[in-house]
């Protein structure tokens, strides 16, 4: 340990982290009920005038809520909730589909605006962006961090019509938690040194990175609030959760988070998933949907010049149990045919493991590398080994669709299913 690090009193943020360098000024910019805002902006005369608005799912109650207006949230409705349940809680609510394309465009606009305001912008999701303003103190003269945050809020609103809330602090986790407290349309900054006190006030389930599995393990030990963790000897945490998780938890409970804001974080996966209007158990039908999803994923990969080594298929049964199966291949792939061969095997595995009835199916491609990274030629032909022929075929199909439209050239079974739609689109 260096002298500089020893000088930091234990228990304060930075005691366990690389403390060299200036105090960080991190902001999380979170778009207020993003999908609702976009839906309203797209149709100001219609949807724009509905206070009780739910975006996502269908009026007959399938799918899940992507976003709900603050007025509806008052009824206990939140995103991720099945639309049917939301409608039971708030029967007067109006359900509209997600305006996908508009959302991507608005998200891109917000990001562009932020990139003009901050040296480092890391998109965390379609409607959340981390900014690292460390080192910009002098640029803005006497402006405080809080004033900067307000200025960013106003500029984004003026340039994109999107209202955002900002949370700020010395760590990403602090910024994220503060943004939750800033909503709606506000700013909340946690001053350096106050992190530990600020975090103490939260429930453990509020901490970013605490998932349902970890949460139930925590609850088994009667740990619900951040302060509950602080009251337990570290030795016990290690015994209960293992050294890595115990240290992670203790650090977070003390407001420590070593992750940095990284601009232009490379895309980690490409995926497509869908919740069905009715539960499906027909194997052929599921395979056709899987094929359609593979076509979307494959096309996105090729458009971005990427190849994937890992294919994952995700399913959700009517009782909301989510299962995934994935396979990592020796060589990265991009062609629809090999993606589908792998995905189909994985679907078979999933259907063998759980119920054959599904409410959601999805496929994702990850372990991405750019298409120049591969190039190892195979000795043997094999369905799981992509050949030049497979790649060329997929690329040619892209060209045809580019010129004559997305439906111009499709596998026969997909054409059949679009001619006789059975479930149609649900949620991404």
């Amino acid at each position: 340990m260096t002298e500089a690090r020893r000088a930091v009193p234990p228990g304060t943020p930075g005691a366990e982290e690389a403390t060299e360098g200036p105090t960080r000024r991190i902001l999380l910019v979170d778009c207020d009920m993003f999908f609702v805002q976009v839906a309203r902006l797209e149709d100001p005369a219609g949807v724009g005038k509905i206070p009780l608005l739910v975006v996502g799912g269908t009026p007959d109650g399938r799918g899940v809520i992507t976003s709900a207006s603050y007025e509806v949230r008052g009824y206990g409705v939140h995103s991720g909730m099945p639309t049917a349940r939301a409608l039971r809680l708030c029967p007067e609510a109006t359900v509209v589909p997600v305006p996908r394309e508009a959302c991507s465009l608005r998200s891109r606009a917000v990001r562009d605006a932020l990139e003009r305001l901050s040296p480092i912008v890391e998109p965390a999701s379609i409607d959340e962006f981390y900014l690292d303003l460390t080192g910009t103190e002098r640029m803005f003269g006497s402006e405080t961090f809080e004033e900067t945050a307000h200025r960013i809020r106003e500029r984004v609103l003026a340039e994109t019509e999107i209202s955002v809330s900002l949370g700020g602090g010395t760590r990403k986790m602090i910024a994220k938690l503060a943004a939750g407290r800033a909503k709606p349309a506000g700013v909340r900054i946690v001053p350096p040194g106050d992190e530990s006190d600020f975090v103490r006030d939260f429930d453990l389930e509020d901490l970013p990175g605490v998932g349902p599995v970890f949460l139930s393990a925590l609850r088994e030990k009667e740990l619900r609030r951040v302060e509950d963790v602080l009251a337990v000897e570290e030795e016990w945490l290690v015994r209960w959760f293992g050294r890595t998780r115990a240290r992670w938890l203790r650090d977070r409970a003390r407001g420590l988070d070593p992750t940095l804001v990284q601009s232009g974080t490379a895309r980690k996966s490409v995926s497509s998933e869908r919740t069905f209007r009715r539960d499906l158990d027909d194997r052929t039908e599921l395979e056709t949907i899987l094929l359609e999803q593979v076509l979307t994923v494959g096309r996105t990969l090729r458009q971005r010049g990427l190849r994937a080594r890992t294919v994952t298929v995700k399913s959700r049964s009517p009782d909301f149990r989510t299962r995934t199966a994935s396979r990592t291949l020796p060589e990265a792939i991009e062609s629809d045919s090999v993606l589908y061969t792998v995905a189909r095997q994985l679907l078979k595995e999933l259907l063998g493991r759980g119920t054959p009835r599904l409410r959601l199916l999805g496929v994702s491609a990850s372990s991405l590398a750019d298409d120049g990274a591969g190039g190892q030629l195979p000795l043997f032909d094999h369905p799981l080994v992509e050949t030049e022929r497979d790649r060329t075929l997929s690329q040619l199909m892209d060209v045809v669709r580019e010129r004559f439209g997305g439906d111009a050239l499709l596998p026969g079974r997909v054409v059949e299913s679009t001619r006789h739609p059975k479930d149609a689109d649900g949620e991404m």
Partner: protein, 372 residues
Amino acid sequence: MNFTITRQNLHKGLAAVSASIPTKTTLPVLSNILFEATSEGVRMSGTDLDVGVRIQVPADVSLEGSLTAPGKKLQEIARELPDEPVRITTQGDQIELRCGRSHFKLNGLPSEDFPTLPAVSFESGWQATGETLLSLIHHTSFAVSTEESRPILNGVLWELSDGQMRMVATNGHRLAKMTVPAASSSHTTVQFIVPPAALQQVQRLFGKEEEVVVGQEGNHLGFRSGGTEVYTRLIEGSYPNYDQVIPRDNDKWAVVDRKTLESAVRRMAVVASDQTHRIRMSLAKEQMQLNVLTPDLGEGHDEIEVQFEGDDLEIGFNAAYLLEILRYMDTEEVRLGFKAPERAATIEPVSGEGEESGIEYLCLVMPLRLLD
């Protein structure tokens, strides 16, 4: 059970068997070694359910019986015991060791809990010298696949036919094949796909000078020499047609000093991409150039002298594959054969005059596409 055994024999038996015990298992009895004391001595067995090892060691048995006891602990104890006879007895499910003034009691599990090793008949089996078997395993098993996506490639193909024995292994990108002359037998040609873990045990337990008998029973294979036996489950399925991918029309040949090539490739590998290990090999008269260009890192260049016949060629390779193959070539010089930049290259040893042994060793490596 009650027997007296020399410390050396106890240690020898435990060392042979305990390497087959899984380090992590959900079945506690698999962490144990099965002791079976009979009038002929003591048999010790260990298994991870895929591969099993059994060894018979001399002992003075005064009461026959059997029990399983913790393998690793017994091995550690045997290592530390003084050089005196060890008396081993059982009391219920406990095993007791006495040696000089040392005394241990370890908790065991009943022998009925221990999985039965496959009953392989060796009478109608094949014979191979340890030397042949070990050489085949050494020269091929490195090439097996470790990927889960194609289980069949996780094994070594072993072909036994009249007068010949051959092993082949591949991961779908590079392949190693060795054929050796074998005693003629009345058997028809057979093919087994053997997990490399079993072959490792064979390498570890059998000496060059030993005669090894191999027997098959259903989906299991057994190897036996002296009192030592190795059993394995075979991998099921049909092995890809390797013969079809061996190039017959390569028309560019380079003969090169193996060590010189190996060190040049190793130097280039330093600068090659961590992911692809891509290097570019350019061949022209009397010269091989090796080049690396890795974006964000830098580049490297090397030249070595070769005897080259054929048209000039530029071809890309995964340096790691080349290095691995060169490591298993035993001769001073190796011959590389090429056809085109997208076709399999061959690497084989160049034996001196009059060194014809009837052994054929050939490795294949598929190129990496070059980025221009």
